[in-house]
Amino acid sequence: MFTIKQNIYTFGKSKFLKSMNNILKFTAIIAFPLLLMTSCGEDKPIEDLVDDTTEEVVEEVENKNYYQIPSPDEMFGFIKESGLKYNKSVLNSVQSVDSYTEPTQQALNFGIYSADLAYTAAFEEYQETIKYFGSVQKLADKIGLSSAFDKSLIERVQNNLKNADSLVSITNTSYFSVVDYLEQNEQGGKLGIIASAGWLETVYIVANTAKYGKDKAAIERLADQKLTLDNLIQYLEKYTESDPEVKKVHAWFKEIEAAFSGLEEKSSGSAITLKKKEGAKKMVLGGGENIRISEQQFTTIKNKISEIRNQIVKVQA
C-alpha cells in the first residue's frame, strides 16, 4: 500500500522539554544562594534575573552516523515462517552460565544467551524460554544490567508462559531495555560486544540448522548477513581505539567479514528503485543486486562462525 501519511507529529510538551524544565528549576534552586552572595548592592529586583534563565546555552549537537543491528527476533521470526525446525542441540547450555567469570566473557555470553532466549520464544518452547531467561538474568546481574531486568518483567515472563506472542514481546522488551540502559549510560562499547555476540549466535543457529539446497530462504537470509555485518563492524569501529575488548571482538568480526567477502552480488537486471507498482498498495523496494552464496562459501562461513562462537561459549576446565 502506498501509505505515506502527510503528518508531522509534534507535541505540546515532550518528555525532553519537561526534563529541561525540571533541570532549570533544580539549577535555579542551587544557583539562587550564589546569586544572593553576588548580588548584594544591586538595585534591580531578582525577578529580572530569573527571566534570563530561559536563554541558557548548551553545546550544539554534532552531526552523527548511527549504525543499527537487527535484533535476533527478526531473524528467528523469519526462519520459523520459512519452515526451519527447532534445534535445541545448537544452543549454549544453561549449565555453563556460572562458569563465565571474566567480565568480557560474561558480556559476550549475555549476548549469546539473549539470542538463545529469542530463539526459544520464537519457536514457542516455553520451558526452555524460562530457563534461558534465568541465564540471561544471572549474567545481567553480573555485568551490571540488573536494573534492565526489573521484578515486573520477570513476573510478566512467568505469567505468560503459555502465550507465545506475549513471550516474544516480553523477551524483546528485555533485549530493548538492555540496549536502552547501555545507551543511556553511554556504554556503547559494551553494547557493541553484546550485540555482536547476539548476532553471532543468531547466524550460528541458522548456519547449523539450515541445509544448503533444501532451506533456500534461510540460506539466502544467511547470505544477506553480509550487509548486517557491515553495520556491525562500522559500529564496533567507533570504540576500537578506546576499548581493547571491543578491539578484540572487532578482530574476530574482520575474520568473519573475510569469509563473507567472496559472496557475489549479482544484478537483478534492473536498477534499485523505491516506487509504487501499478495496482500495488505499498511502495516496493526492488531491483539492484542480489547476494549469491555457493555451497562451499556456505561451509566456509559456517566453519568460521562456529569457530569464533565456540571460542566464546567454551568453559575453562
Binding site: 507529529y9 515532550s14 533541570i23 544591586e42 538595585d43 541558557e56 548548551v58 553545546e59 554534532e62 552516523n65
Partner: protein, 216 residues
C-alpha cells in the same frame, strides 16, 4: 547588573551543561511519540533498529539500517515541536563498491653518474600502483520533500538492502524563542533550539497473495 546576569548565566551553564549534553533524555522517544501502526492495518512488530537522538536545528544525521527481502517495513518519524513543524528526510541505498584506484607514491632516490657512482644528489621518483579499494556509494531512493514532507513511509522489500535514513532539521522555524543562536560544529547554542527526534521502525512478513494450501 549585567555582570551578575552573566555570572548567573555562566553558573547555570556549568550546572546544566553536563546534564544536557548527555542525549539520554531522548532514549525511547520513538516509542512514546512516533505513531505506531493502527492494528487494523496489519500485524507489524516493533523493530530493534528504531532509534531516538538529540538534535539541534540545522543538524543532519544518518541512521544506517538493514531491511530484508520478504518483509514489509514502516518508518514513522517524530520530533519535539521546538525543532519546527516539518522534518526533511531522505532514504538512500548504502552500497559498498569496488573501484580501481591509482595510488601514487613518491620516494627520494640517489642520483648516480655515468660510472655508477652516487653523485650525492637526490631526485624524486614517482611510482604508480593500481589497487582495488572498497568505497561506499549512496544512491537516493526517496526524498520526503517531493512528498509534502511526509513523516511516514511504508514499503515492501524485494531485495535485502542496507539503507541510510538521512534526517535534516531545518535551521529556521519551530516555536523556540531564542535569537542570535550560534551555528556550526562545536559552537554553543540555546537549548530551545534542541529537541528529540525519533524513528520508529516496524516490520512484518510480506503478506502472501493468492490462494495458499488449498489445492490438490
Amino acid at each position: 547588573m549585567k555582570s551578575i546576569t552573566k555570572i548567573y548565566a555562566i553558573t547555570l551553564s556549568l550546572l546544566v551543561f553536563p546534564l544536557i549534553t548527555k542525549a539520554q533524555y531522548c532514549n525511547y522517544f520513538h516509542a512514546g511519540f512516533c505513531t505506531p501502526t493502527d492494528e487494523k492495518e496489519g500485524t507489524y512488530k516493533p523493530n530493534g533498529q528504531s532509534k531516538s537522538a538529540l538534535f539541534s536545528k540545522g543538524q543532519t544525521s544518518e541512521l544506517s539500517v538493514v531491511v530484508y527481502k520478504g518483509q514489509d517495513y514502516r518508518f514513522a518519524l517524530c520530533m519535539d515541536e521546538n525543532l519546527g513543524s516539518q522534518m526533511h528526510f531522505k532514504l538512500y541505498e548504502n552500497k559498498k563498491i569496488k573501484v580501481e584506484k591509482v595510488i601514487e607514491s613518491k620516494v627520494m632516490e640517489d642520483v648516480y653518474d655515468e660510472n655508477g657512482e652516487p653523485t650525492g644528489e637526490k631526485k624524486e621518483v614517482v611510482t604508480k600502483e593500481t589497487k582495488v579499494v572498497e568505497e561506499t556509494k549512496k544512491e537516493l531512493l526517496y526524498d520526503n520533500a517531493n512528498d509534502n514532507f511526509a513523516s511516514e513511509l511504508e514499503f515492501t522489500v524485494e531485495t535485502t538492502r542496507r539503507l541510510i535514513i538521512e534526517i535534516e532539521i531545518p535551521s529556521e522555524g519551530g516555536s523556540g524563542t531564542a535569537k542570535g543562536v550560534a551555528q556550526g560544529k562545536g559552537k554553543l547554542m540555546k537549548s530551545s533550539e534542541m529537541g528529540c527526534v525519533g524513528i520508529l521502525i516496524e516490520h512484518m512478513a510480506t503478506p502472501k497473495k493468492g490462494f495458499y494450501g488449498t489445492g490438490f
